[in-house]
């Protein structure tokens, strides 16, 4: 456990020294500027747009961290061979990978907390009141990112950094449209294509399951089961993908 904790903390520190928090600042500036601009342009309820904008922005910025940073930080460790000194010590390979994962997720979550705080304050400033349900939506974005960082971890031990980023980005995109692809197959005649798409639906996580933005923005009720099952779904997928990553990394030669 100590090894995982130490590697996680070191990864978090590396990410923070890589000025990853500038992304958060970028988010804050973007959100502030755009709410000001939309205030001028729109007719009606501004807070709705700020919420939409903020939640989408959080999702997008965190996705960037997950896709770029995760693959980068793990690949950097392997490519620059700093991993040699870690694995020659009493540290198991899976502990290294899980430590990296936890550190990256912590990086994402630090940003998530800061961005959520900005959003809640901004909505309050624009007269939308303090909306604690926004935090439910951002927390679920956090769960989505947990799954995505797991994929980034897997791809970073499977392939090169650029490809890893592209694959992780693809998981994000496909994960958000997989439900529609699946629905599409219902209209297709029974065929190989339909089987393939159906299989894809279960292999790629359905990231829309973590999307509670509409419910939160429009104040619709959220069934507690939807949150509980989404959590279970996210945790299972994360552990599954991390296990695959550890299996692969466990047999990999480091050169």
């Amino acid at each position: 456990m100590r090894a995982i904790r130490v590697i996680a903390l070191s990864t978090l520190r590396e990410a923070l020294r890589d000025k990853i928090l500038y992304l958060f600042l970028g988010f804050a500036v973007l959100l502030l500027a755009s709410s000001k601009l939309f205030g001028i342009l729109t007719v009606g309820d501004q807070t709705k747009i700020i919420k939409d904008m903020g939640l989408a922005g959080i999702q997008l910025f965190l996705m960037l961290i997950a896709v770029m940073m995760s693959v980068l930080l793990i690949s950097r460790e392997i490519d620059s061979r700093t991993v040699y000194y870690i694995l020659a010590k009493p540290v198991r390979r899976w502990q290294f990978l899980v430590g990296k994962y936890v550190g990256l997720l912590a990086t994402v979550l630090v940003n998530l907390v800061l961005m959520s705080a900005i959003l809640v304050v901004l909505v309050w400033l624009y007269g939308g009141g303090v909306d604690p349900r926004l935090l439910i939506a951002t927390a679920m974005i956090g769960v989505e990112m947990a799954v995505l960082v797991a994929f980034a971890t897997l791809f970073s031990v499977l392939t090169k950094p650029i490809l890893g980023s592209i694959f992780t980005l693809s998981v994000f995109v496909v994960g958000h449209v997989s439900q529609d692809l699946w629905l599409l197959t219902r209209h297709l005649p029974e065929s190989v294509g339909r089987t393939v798409v159906s299989a894809l639906y279960y292999v790629v996580p359905n990231l829309e399951r973590f999307n509670l933005k509409t419910e939160v923005v429009h104040g619709l009720p959220i069934p507690p089961e939807a949150i509980v099952w989404a959590l279970v779904y996210g945790i299972f997928f994360t552990i599954l993908v991390l296990t695959l990553a550890c299996l692969r990394f466990g047999t990999r030669d480091l050169q």
Binding site: D18, Y85, A88
Partner: protein, 308 residues
């Protein structure tokens, strides 16, 4: 029979670089035994499999077959890893950390008790003469300084087996001397040192035993003196006052500098040359016996390996 610290039995490894590239067979049944408490040199030309062997021992490369034990334990057991201190060929360290931060991180991974980390880190920093620079980020370090930090992290866990891959490459003479002193110091404490090197004089001066590796197999193992020829094979002579081309005695090679000339002659022609120099009124500056060195040995081994 001395106790064995590191045993490698018929280690095999083939790398598969890619779909369209030929697999490379790097280790072809390598056997090795390193005794407890000795300084063991691991010699071989590039591509012979030295680094791959060391990576297999430290668990970075997974061998296809064979067996590695450290202190009698399987090498991938955590207990075995706790015995090792490892330094890789090039110092791969985090650029964004200071030397001290990196060593604290390493100490954490080595399961040093949290209350002892500070003292332990300060101690090894002093040991590698980096006490004063420990708080600068490693981005600002020279290669020699990085090497010292890499060495420091290897010493951090008080290892019983120190595995060093080319510990002296890229160092200036002072750095090389420091590393040599450190190895000897560890040796005195009873630590087994296993290191690969290209720098022959160091191996000659400090190793108890040496293994030469060619083409993924150990070619020869023994005390340094056993591997070298006892006989002086030739002499190098420097002199002034005569052009080397004027010598009648056949020489192996000759060179004329601005001040002095230099020739190498076979041992049995030494006296002919000296006599000739005296007759010509030239002044002899020095006479040096030339022995077969490890370098020559390696060269000959490499040629054999290349031929087979």
């Amino acid at each position: 029979m001395p106790e064995i610290e590191l045993r490698i039995v018929s280690l095999r490894k083939t790398f598969h670089p890619g779909l369209f590239e030929r697999p490379v067979e790097v280790l072809r049944g390598l056997d090795l035994e390193v005794f407890k408490g000795e300084i063991f040199g691991f010699l071989g030309p590039n591509g012979a499999g030295k680094t791959t062997t060391i990576k297999a021992v430290t668990g970075l490369v997974i061998p296809d077959s064979g067996e590695i034990t450290i202190g009698g334990l399987p090498h991938d057991a955590m207990a075995a890893k706790r015995r090792i201190g490892f330094m890789a060929e090039n110092p791969y360290l985090y650029q964004h950390l200071s030397g001290r931060e990196y060593l604290r991180f390493s100490a954490d991974l080595l399961e040093v008790a949290p209350s002892e980390i500070d003292d332990r880190v300060a101690a090894v920093l002093d040991q590698v003469s980096m006490g004063g620079r420990g708080d600068q980020t490693m981005r600002t370090y020279s290669k020699g300084m990085l090497q010292r930090i890499a060495l420091a992290q290897a010493l951090l866990g008080s290892p019983q087996l120190l595995i060093l891959d080319e510990p002296m490459s890229g160092l200036d003479p002072i750095g090389r001397r420091d590393v040599r002193d450190l190895i000897l110091e560890q040796h005195e404490r009873g630590v087994t040192v296993f290191f690969s090197s290209h720098i022959i004089p160091d191996v000659e001066t400090i190793c108890d035993r040496v293994a030469t590796v060619i083409g993924g197999r150990v070619h020869g193992v023994g005390a340094v003196r056993d591997l070298l020829a006892r006989e002086v094979e030739s002499y190098e002579i420097t002199f002034t006052g005569l052009d080397p081309s004027a010598l009648r005695t056949p020489v192996e090679s000759a060179h004329r500098g601005s001040d002095a000339a230099w020739v190498r002659v076979a041992a049995d022609r030494r006296d002919d040359v000296i006599r000739e120099l005296a007759e010509a009124g030239a002044r002899m500056m020095s006479l040096t016996p030339v022995r077969s060195t490890l370098e020559d040995l390696l060269m000959s081994l490499y040629e054999e390996g290349g031929a087979s």
